[in-house]
């Protein structure tokens, strides 16, 4: 018997032994706004959601800048400028942008290894979660997802209208299986593996700026 058959047979026998035929039911999930005390639910005003998102982002060590579509280019330029290397080995920052407002100096490569020298990556989020500042980024908005990890700084553009209260609302709004990859991103890479000291920039981006667009 194959491993597959043997495991499935053992699992079936075990679950029948434990549960019989009276399996516990699959509970229905909370509907959006069911917990008004939680993340302000459906009653929450747009500005309450944005406020909550901004507090959460601070907790996740992300920077939030409220701006306009047109302002994103300027924001990107100032972040890129902070990454400029002068003196010996001077070079312009390498910028890859997935948003129209910002013009990078690098195109999405076929081989993600070419992103090793990336300084700034700009992309646009689909949904923001107020209670945690997590932002849903499907692969179509990332190009090569390695860019998110290899870049020193990341800017995620997010429409404030795309902020929902909590993860329940977020999962109701996105189809996570629509693309081969997608992630909820909350803040820059971090670790506390050395004596519980929080260190920003473990492997991935050292800084995350959320450009919040009030449409």
């Amino acid at each position: 018997m194959s491993a597959r058959e043997e495991i499935l047979r053992a699992v079936r026998a075990a679950r029948v032994a434990t549960f019989g035929n009276a399996a516990p039911a699959l509970p229905s999930l909370p509907t959006v706004g069911e917990w008004p005390g939680g993340a302000d639910g459906a009653q929450a005003t747009r500005s309450a959601l944005v406020d909550r998102f901004m507090v959460s982002a601070q907790g996740a060590a992300a920077r939030v800048v409220r701006t306009t579509r047109a302002g994103v280019a300027q924001l990107a330029a100032s972040v890129a400028d902070s990454l400029r290397v002068d003196g010996d080995g001077a070079r312009d920052p390498v910028v890859l942008s997935m948003v129209d407002a910002v013009h990078g100096n690098m195109a999405v490569p076929d081989d993600p290894h070419e992103l090793a020298t990336l300084d700034l990556f700009v992309c646009e989020g689909e949904i923001g979660v107020a209670e945690s500042s997590a932002i849903w980024l499907p692969t179509s908005r990332l190009g090569q997802r390695a860019a998110l990890l290899l870049a020193t700084e990341v800017i995620v553009v997010l429409e404030s209208a795309a902020i929902v209260a909590d993860l329940h609302a977020a999962y109701a709004a996105v189809d996570v299986g629509r693309e081969s990859f997608g992630l909820f991103l909350a803040g820059p890479s971090k670790t506390a593996d050395i004596e519980q000291s929080l260190v920003i920039g473990a492997h991935g981006a050292k800084g995350l700026t959320v450009a919040l667009i009030d449409g």
Binding site: V11, F184, S189, E195
Partner: protein
């Protein structure tokens, strides 16, 4: 830190029959009073962060109920969900493999790597691969395995196992990590600043990520409905590996299934807060297929899980989502360290999972608890850990896991406790002995109880003596 002193601290202490002696390991750990204080404090700090995170969610207890119910349901139909997951994942171009045990898992992984000629593997945190002993197996076959989670890399460089399932290097001080990095990564001697050490590890691991032939990750959740897996990190190491390498292998225990993508709303809200107190982990990646040109494999591993599912008293342990909240809150784990358990997964959850693999070898683990119940109260999926510890104790004793003398003593104690007259007599003798024996001898006769304790000052008479004299005829 010399190799021998490291080994003496990280290997479990075994008794004459090869069984883990948790009490001896704990005694070794607590002998360093200051380190015990520090370890206990570091974990309590995480427990307090968890409390604040949980308190920020008014529906916390409701989420726990939901998470528990979803897991219970999934386990009750696990074979169906596994088949559904396999079907959907396969349709997405993911190759699904099945492994009955750790050895089979290791062979499958080696086979995938060998077929691609892969020699350099980067791996994000996976307690399953620890359980299977994968690293040693691959290294024997000439594969370079680099654990990329910072904590795991630290213990790997020191040739130690993780001492905690979320914070693998929680037992180490920054000076010790600095010394290891000085020796292995060439950082300046005496460097012990966490920022600087993390930066050094970042540079060192960047090279490994960019040069890897294959990436491996564990799996936090596998979604039956969509055929995808969810991998969660704060560092981004899992994503760096899978975003670059041409081969991606995800290994998961078969209990990681959940029915629907939307169930993640419940689990993700609980997981990060329970583990570290964060509202969200940084990277919660949903992988539903390989990148263009990449090969993606998922290995489904049983290794004793189906047996545990069939144990009516213990199947609930399979609900575990590996947040480690029960370790952080356990007053015994905090003061005995991960290595005292001699089990891949230490702490309360390890003490109910591991005896299922070898009840004699791990007979001591269900007794490494005061049954205070904090683990059950903190568990985000409501595993009744203290009840399972109690039930394991019964099975361990029935399986002859206790020394014969202890069994005899327990039976005798049971006899005395059921016989009020005999108990009164025994009590009178004991109280009398406590009065007349020299304290040191009395302490020795009291065995373990005499350690660090002064024996009680015996009262003259018992309560029953008082009742007879002062409240006669009250029965």
């Amino acid at each position: 830190m010399t190799a021998s002193s490291t080994a003496s601290r990280t290997l479990p202490i075994l008794d004459a029959h090869g069984a883990v002696d948790h009490a001896a390991g704990a005694e070794r750990f607590t002998a360093d009073v200051d380190r015990t204080t520090w370890h206990d404090g570091a974990l309590w700090f995480v427990r307090e962060k968890r409390d604040r995170g949980a308190a920020s969610v008014p529906e916390w207890e409701r989420l726990r109920d939901l998470a528990s119910a979803i897991k219970s349901h999934t386990l009750s139909r696990l074979d169906e969900y596994l088949e559904r997951f396999e079907r959907r994942a396969t349709a997405r171009g993911i190759q699904v493999h099945w492994a009955r045990d750790g050895a089979e898992h290791n062979e499958i992984v080696l086979g995938i790597l060998a077929a691609r000629g892969a020699r350099r593997l980067v791996k994000s945190k996976s307690m399953l691969t620890e359980e299977c002993g994968l690293n040693a197996h691959l290294e024997r076959h000439g594969i370079e395995v680099v654990d990329t989670d910072l904590g795991e890399r630290i213990v790997q460089l020191r040739n130690e196992p993780p001492s905690h399932i979320v914070m693998p290097a929680i037992h180490l001080k920054k000076e010790e990590i600095g010394a290891t990095f000085h020796e292995k990564l060439g950082t300046p001697a005496g460097l012990a600043d966490p920022d600087a050490l993390t930066a050094a590890a970042r540079r060192h691991l960047r090279e490994r990520f960019l040069g890897a032939d294959a990436a491996m990750t564990g799996v936090n959740f596998a979604i039956a409905e969509t055929g995808g897996v969810v991998v969660i990190t704060n560092e981004g190491n899992a994503d760096l590996g899978t975003a670059l390498a041409p081969v991606y292998i995800a290994s998961m225990g078969i209990e990681k299934l959940i029915p629907r993508a939307a169930d993640l709303g419940v689990f993700l809200r609980l997981l990060a807060r329970s583990a570290t107190g964060q509202a969200s982990s940084v990277y919660a990646s949903h992988v539903h297929g390989p990148r263009p040109g990449q090969a993606m494999h998922v290995v489904l591993v049983d290794n004793g899980r189906s047996t545990q599912l069939g144990r009516g008293d213990f199947w609930g342990s399979l609900k575990c989502i590996r947040c480690a909240a029960c370790l952080n809150t356990c007053p015994v784990y905090r003061r005995s360290g991960g290595y005292s358990y001699g089990s891949t997964i230490p702490g309360p959850i390890g003490s109910v999972l591991t005896p299922g693999l070898d009840v004699r070898k791990y007979a001591a683990l269900p007794f490494a608890s005061t049954l205070c119940g904090s683990c059950s109260a903190v568990c985000p999926v409501k595993v009744d850990l203290d009840q399972q510890l109690y039930r394991w104790r019964q099975l361990v004793m029935a399986a002859g896991g206790a020394p014969p003398l202890k069994r005899w003593w327990l039976r005798a104690m049971g006899g005395v406790l059921a016989d009020p007259a005999l108990l009164q007599l025994a009590g009178r003798v004991a109280r009398g002995m406590l009065r007349v024996l020299p304290p040191r001898l009395a302490r020795r006769l009291a065995g373990g109880w005499g350690t660090g304790r002064a024996l009680p000052e015996p009262p003259r008479g018992s309560f029953r003596d008082w009742v007879r004299a002062n409240r006669p005829g009250r029965s």
